[in-house]
Symmetry: C2
Subunit: 342 residues, 2 copies
Amino acid sequence: MKVNGEDYRAIWWEGDAVGFIDQRLLPHRFESSSATTLSQVADAISGMAIRGAPTIGVMAAYGLALAARIGEQIDDAYSLLVGTRPTAINLKVGLDAVMAAAPDTGAMLAAARTHDESEVAAARAIGVHGLDLLEHGSRVLTHCNAGWMAAQDWGTATSPVYTAAREGLNPFVWVSETRPRLQGARITAWEMLNEGIDHRLIADGAGAQLMRQGRVDVVITGADRIAANGDTANKIGTYSHALAAHANGVPFYIAAPLTTFDSRTPHGDAIPIEERDENEVRTLEGLTEDGELKRVAITPPGTQVINPAFDVTPASLITGFITEVGVIPATPEAIMSALKLP
Amino acid sequence: MKVNGEDYRAIWWEGDAVGFIDQRLLPHRFESSSATTLSQVADAISGMAIRGAPTIGVMAAYGLALAARIGEQIDDAYSLLVGTRPTAINLKVGLDAVMAAAPDTGAMLAAARTHDESEVAAARAIGVHGLDLLEHGSRVLTHCNAGWMAAQDWGTATSPVYTAAREGLNPFVWVSETRPRLQGARITAWEMLNEGIDHRLIADGAGAQLMRQGRVDVVITGADRIAANGDTANKIGTYSHALAAHANGVPFYIAAPLTTFDSRTPHGDAIPIEERDENEVRTLEGLTEDGELKRVAITPPGTQVINPAFDVTPASLITGFITEVGVIPATPEAIMSALKLP
């Protein structure tokens, strides 16, 4: 997507380095950085300089290709990278695609590029299929960031919105701020502003009320892993929005490429859920009046926290999945058929 | 309740002034302040230096008594104070109790004191009745702060918990942080720490997942206004927790004194919902490493926000009301009977 007139993706290959936009600095600063070592790639993923399931997969793919080119032991590099985040299955898919070409470093880089382009094409196609679900002026509620920062280009949940905007349909987006890391307030709000999409930011707890008041036409979020039965892991807070949508007759869609589906995970309770650092809830970073990025504590010192990064939305609450092969229902049969599995 | 060995209430009369703990500074500083003019009382309420429906009512009651004593026109003072916050009906109840004694300033102050003591007695009784709903080690989820800061002493939602702790039942509390103003993270977490109650802080969006995982035994929140049919306005985010409780078979109780019931409001959609400043969502205040209180921006500059302070939970999702006259079902008949109305 364009930023200040220039084309960007969330991450890119730049000659024995992986370039990326440091998403931790958004919305305050739009800065790119680059990883030239295996540990820099691993840190960018685990430290969430880049995040979003498809982007994580592409970063890991380029990272493994980079590791091979700079002489790291390939199996060790794979093991390190696959352990950087536990929930997004795209991480493993990206790594496996590159591993299949090992040990030929040229072929490994080519495989990473192919994986990258295929995720971008999937994101684009999600927008085309998702467009069928939107009308003129549709009010879409989304949670976290499943925008182009999370999926290289176009995004998953945002792709139908960006497509609708280009078709002149004037979509409107409710941006759920997404505590604790505020990817909605920081990244999705920034993306909407950058693309000129009309939007309003809300606290996560306000989504249900808006649905009860009939002010939301459709909920669309991304996913980090979709189990074989359709249960879906996504950013913590997604399940609450799904319950509110269900209770108020609002359609609830998950937008995700087929790389996010994991036929080997039978149901949601089998998806590993990452627990992140307590300080993500205890403290927050923002810009002071003087333009300084500062971290501030919002709780009593040492308050104990439970900080699951994801939750599981049962398939029964999901109206459908918006994928690159079309919109499919949240049933095991439809999922197996989309994945071309017997 | 005791703080550093001394007895406190959220607010108190101190000889032609209303003393109060400035809750905006919690948990970083425990500081009291005092209002000596009508406008200082009004600002303390509208600026949320004090908050919580019963505490708002007591502050307004003392504020009106103060206004009369310092020679303000009583009707004007009533009008100013009744408009400081639109949702909590306790505000009007407290003012009406004092107004009934006008223009005798001594009688007005006595009426404010009586209202104060009666709210404290109600909070205490809520704890005794609510104790029946808890077992040894019960895990209670609460939202916002319905603790003693919100209800002068004991609190409403917290009163059963404090009572259980004194009975040796070792209650555990999930503290939902409560964006945007973080009354859970700031005030309830501070209260739990101060009372030595085992607790964990969570992002608001994590509550539903904990309920799905069977890690919550009961949800108890306060209320700002309860309509005649049982629909309840409380802090934004309450409705989401109620939906999650309902979907997962977790009992959901509202703890509130009878002053929070409004028989003249027929149902939830008739309750006025306060919209607060957009900056409450765009910015956050916390303590820097250097011990300075700083406000930081978390969104792109000028991001537009919708910031409703409350939501409405339909009576159908409420297991019961914990009141000073016992635990009653969320039905119009039970409410009218508790209020001794025909």
